[in-house]
């Protein structure tokens, strides 16, 4: 059977530094798969490789069994592989309405329309409304994104990815920097995704990881260290050691 997302021996070198080292990762369809590891383990690099921001030095990337290693980033989105960013990557000068409009138009094949006035396709507008509603962004849809409160920007970051209607969603620390009381709002929107959407996410908050994931991969120094169910990983002494300090792994 084919996996939703699979890497085969993917490596990435920046000069002499090896940011990803022969990573072979399999993500099951419909999984809630967490990617954890200490800072600098190469988690974000892996996301960049999966989404086509970076090209691997070696190895293959398969989406639903199809080789996408050489595919441009925007084409992968068209195939349903969508991501969010650890640090918000939004369009500061546009409004949330326009931002979501961009993603919806693109998905519905209307993004390149140059003769139509924006907003003149009802089907697009209805989907925009649906996303704005779901992410509680209606009341700020007319504001400039740059001046929105951080929590709203974070919601927009996630909403923008969902607006692309992903089959495989890659979340790079979705709740990063969000105050405790606003976190559940963001996570609720992720948890509410249909079960057939595959989610691969990076997260440092272990409570979140263990409550949300059904599979965990641990990355250390660019290489896959271990993998298993939340139970297995939580019992693994070596993983604890990795988080406490490299020295103790030897014991």
């Amino acid at each position: 059977m084919s996996f939703a997302l699979e890497t085969i021996g993917v490596s990435m070198h920046f000069g002499g530094i090896c940011a990803s080292n022969n990573v072979s990762l399999q993500v099951q369809k419909g999984a809630r798969h967490a990617l954890i590891g200490p800072n600098g383990a190469g988690k974000t690099t892996l996301i960049n490789l999966l989404t086509g921001v970076l090209r691997p030095s070696a190895g293959q990337i398969l989406l639903e069994g199809r080789d996408i290693t050489a595919l441009a980033a925007h084409r992968r989105v068209g195939l349903g592989l969508v991501r969010t960013f650890q640090i918000n990557q939004l369009f500061g000068e546009l409004t949330p309405l326009e931002t979501i409009g961009l993603a919806v138009s693109e998905r519905m094949g209307a993004g390149g329309d140059w003769w139509r006035v924006a907003g003149s396709r009802g089907a697009v507008d209805r989907q925009i409304v649906e996303i704005l509603e779901r992410f509680h962004l209606v009341d700020v849809m007319q504001e400039r994104t740059a001046i929105l409160p951080y929590g709203k920007q974070r919601l927009l970051e996630i909403a923008l990815a969902i607006a692309c209607r992903p089959q495989v969603l890659l979340l790079d620390e979705p709740a990063a920097g969000v105050p405790e009381e606003e976190r559940h709002e963001i996570l609720a929107t992720v948890a509410a995704l249909p079960r057939d959407v595959t989610v691969l996410f990076i997260e440092h908050d272990m409570d979140l990881v263990f409550s949300f994931s059904d599979r965990i991969s641990v990355l250390v120094n660019g290489a896959l260290f271990t993998e298993g169910s939340p139970d297995e990983v939580s019992r693994d002494e070596r993983v604890k050691a990795v988080y406490l300090g490299e020295d103790e792994v030897d014991d």
Binding site: V77, V82, F85, E133
Partner: protein, 335 residues
């Protein structure tokens, strides 16, 4: 949420998305003034014709800089190519009717823009500046070398224009020329306006704002840039063609670096990213140039230079800030 509320919200979304595309009061004033100049300033039609052509050329660069963030220091390449193409078409009688010749020239220059876009769009800003500059210099030298075809340094002689639409003969006072250029400018402006407020135009602003994220929501960044570069090249080419058609002459100076550089002055004067910058800038630039040249024929460039330094020091931000304030005042009550 009830169906009615949903419908209401959808209508709001449509309304707000189209907000930027709605005509503002000051826009009507601008075009009414342009139309009035046809009737009330017949003695100025020659310079007004130059202004209209410069405005179209500047509009073309504004599409690149203001909407896609592509900086070109050799935009005269396409202006010049269009100028020579229109000249050669007329001289050899390939297409008699000027409007049709203009359209064909636009298509030819669009093709040139499309091909060269792949070179230009590869690099960063600095690379782009160098490549565009180099390309315009190359074209100038090519036109210089192929003197048999282009007349070389003497310019393209013997261009005679057939009557416009088979009806209106180009006159020495530039009356027909101005009405022609102004009409073309207006039509091209309408098209540009349509483009920048479309979903495609919105995606350009997204690409300019954050290309990484634009790609991450499925926008083919490179193709969007190729498209706008091609469109901008066609605009520049049509401006060049208008110059040749209305003066019935064309020389190497259409490719000159000064022509590309002047365009920046125009856009600094008028501002970028709201379509009228090139138009307002062209009016200010030509009138200032004309006025200063009258005052001090030898030193007018000194004054242009000084004006520029002052504007940049005072801050273009502030200038456009004033414009915004004026606009806000003018549109009050329009929502």
């Amino acid at each position: 949420m009830s169906g009615a509320a949903m419908q209401d919200l959808t209508a709001q979304v449509a309304y707000h998305l189209a907000r930027r595309a709605r005509w503002r009061g000051l826009e009507y004033v601008f075009w009414a003034a342009a139309l009035a100049s046809v009737f009330f300033l017949p003695a100025k039609h020659l310079i007004l014709n130059e202004i209209a052509i410069l405005a179209l050329f500047a509009l073309s660069l504004d599409l690149l800089i203001g909407y896609a963030g592509i900086i070109s220091l050799g935009h005269a390449a396409y202006f010049g190519f269009g100028a020579y193409a229109a000249g050669l078409i007329a001289k050899h009688g390939l297409i008699g009717e000027p409007v049709l010749a203009l359209l064909v020239t636009g298509l030819v220059v669009a093709l040139l823009g499309f091909i060269t876009s792949f070179l230009v769009l590869r690099g960063s800003d600095l690379t782009r500046i160098m490549i565009t500059l180099g390309f315009s210099l190359i074209l100038r030298e090519v036109a210089n070398r192929f003197a048999g075809l282009t007349g070389g340094a003497d310019g393209l002689q013997g261009v005679t224009m057939a009557p416009l639409l088979g009806q209106f003969t180009f006159d020495i006072g530039g009356h027909v020329a101005y009405m022609y250029s102004l009409t073309v400018l207006f039509v091209m402006f309408l098209v540009a306006r349509r483009i920048v407020y479309s979903p495609f135009g919105l995606s350009l602003r997204a690409v300019q704002g954050n290309a990484l994220r634009a790609a991450a929501i499925g926008i083919g960044v490179n193709w969007r840039l190729v498209a706008i570069y091609t469109i901008a090249a066609a605009y520049a080419g049509i401006a060049g063609a208008l110059l040749t058609q209305s003066t019935q002459f064309c020389s190497l100076d259409v490719f000159s670096f000064e022509r590309s550089a002047d365009l920046f002055v125009v856009l600094v004067l008028g501002g970028v990213g709201y379509l009228y910058g090139g138009l307002v800038g062209a009016v200010l630039f030509k009138i200032t140039q004309d006025w200063l040249a009258g005052l001090t024929p030898q030193y007018w460039q000194f004054w242009v230079g000084l004006t520029l330094v002052i504007i940049v020091l005072v801050g273009t931000e502030r200038l456009s800030g004033w414009l915004r304030a004026i606009r806000r005042l003018a549109f009050k009550g329009q929502g």
